[in-house]
Symmetry: C2
Subunit: 282 residues, 2 copies
Amino acid sequence: MASSRADLPPLTSGTLLNKNSGRVKEARRLARRSFRAEQRQFLADGPKAVEGALGVPGCVVEVFATAAASEQYAALRAAAPAWTVVDDRALASLSDSVHPQGVVARCRFIDRPLDHVVEHSLSLVALCADVRDPGNAGTVIRTADAAGAGAVVLAGHSVDAYNAKTVRATVGSVFHLPLALEPDPATAVARLRAAGLTVLAADGGGELDLDDAADDGLLAGPTAWLFGNEAWGLPAELAALADHRVRIPIHGAAESLNLSTAAAVCHYASARAQRRTGAAGA
Amino acid sequence: MASSRADLPPLTSGTLLNKNSGRVKEARRLARRSFRAEQRQFLADGPKAVEGALGVPGCVVEVFATAAASEQYAALRAAAPAWTVVDDRALASLSDSVHPQGVVARCRFIDRPLDHVVEHSLSLVALCADVRDPGNAGTVIRTADAAGAGAVVLAGHSVDAYNAKTVRATVGSVFHLPLALEPDPATAVARLRAAGLTVLAADGGGELDLDDAADDGLLAGPTAWLFGNEAWGLPAELAALADHRVRIPIHGAAESLNLSTAAAVCHYASARAQRRTGAAGA
């Protein structure tokens, strides 16, 4: 970090932008979904998110940082196309975090058409239909990434992928794997099936037990997991379009798992089955 | 519901307690940890939590409910030792939820000494050391319950198990399985090992891969999973007391999973291994 810092031009002191500067005000408007959609830009908040964004060619327009964060995150600064030092209040106005971490990037939208995403060979995909909670959607993306998924699709009336809370909950993962937005969940299911993936609906009332599915080798091939809304689950007509409906076995007295923990269990069951032929064939 | 409602005495109209009634005020003080500790009582908020509490003999002291909830949850009313109708503002003052669901129970503490808990044969236990976030602790308890755990231990400086957010995040599970509170995590590890459980520390830097542990049969026997703080993980000296340190494999670019999703993956890996000898021996 020290050596890369030495290569950087010194931070211009006395030119800290404040809350009322035009650039900060315009970036702040990206907190609103309608403005994001119009600009096709969003904010990535915190060093992990900014690092992730800088890993996507052409994604970052400009990074806003406090003077302290500009020193602390010299490696990010070295990678950024533009780095603007702002005062603490200006930075806080760009962050929706209770404890802003000093650095926020203005980013271009990174989603790709679903047809482009499925052109690549995919072994594991997370497909969210009408997932509404930003934290849940973000955590699903994070666990999909951890489990080695090749893409994430947010479909239907799901929360905006570019919502600050969603981006933060992914802890950078939204930048690690291709993201597609598809208004119609049924279309997403059809496209993924046409691309050769088995679509498994995660459904508490599903006809298959997850462990049985693993034992029977059903998880060993390319798989897309379909997750529904956290409160009301998957509509029956959408679940019916999947190849199978799979339930996580509940061994105790709990009625269910929440969406993000269920997604973690499903993603990791697939990751294991795809890598362990012994387990899949047992 | 209709038949049990018919068996109940009619709700006394005109005697709704308001926010300022002594009983409501005293119950409201249970929002504070110090008062909970002094009274050894806490609040269970919402119908799932109240239903869970009513399933534990002697747990519920009194249920507060709005008139509407008293009609809606007639089965709970039939099971409650005392049912007090309060106005909406009084109920809201007892709930820390943004959308109170009309029913809150005043409950006696339900934790048991760890020595009593380990007297029973346990195949799966969740042990949290210094887990601080109420939602995380609650979700860990919920996934442990779903995976068929026989007990939960909150150790060290973990969040108060009786915190309203923790209780709510368990969605009733805190009432489904024995709960022990142990100030010293090392003591908890020693007690669980002495009771014949293999203690596995969930640790991103662990020497064993979770899938390897499953393949090698390590998860097939009685197991206690040890989880550390969400931000800084497990202290090395505590992790060293476990039989093994196990990492969840990260196949993608994510750095880690969050605590509650990691716990779900670990609990379900154990649940599967304990029930599927084929998978465990593969």
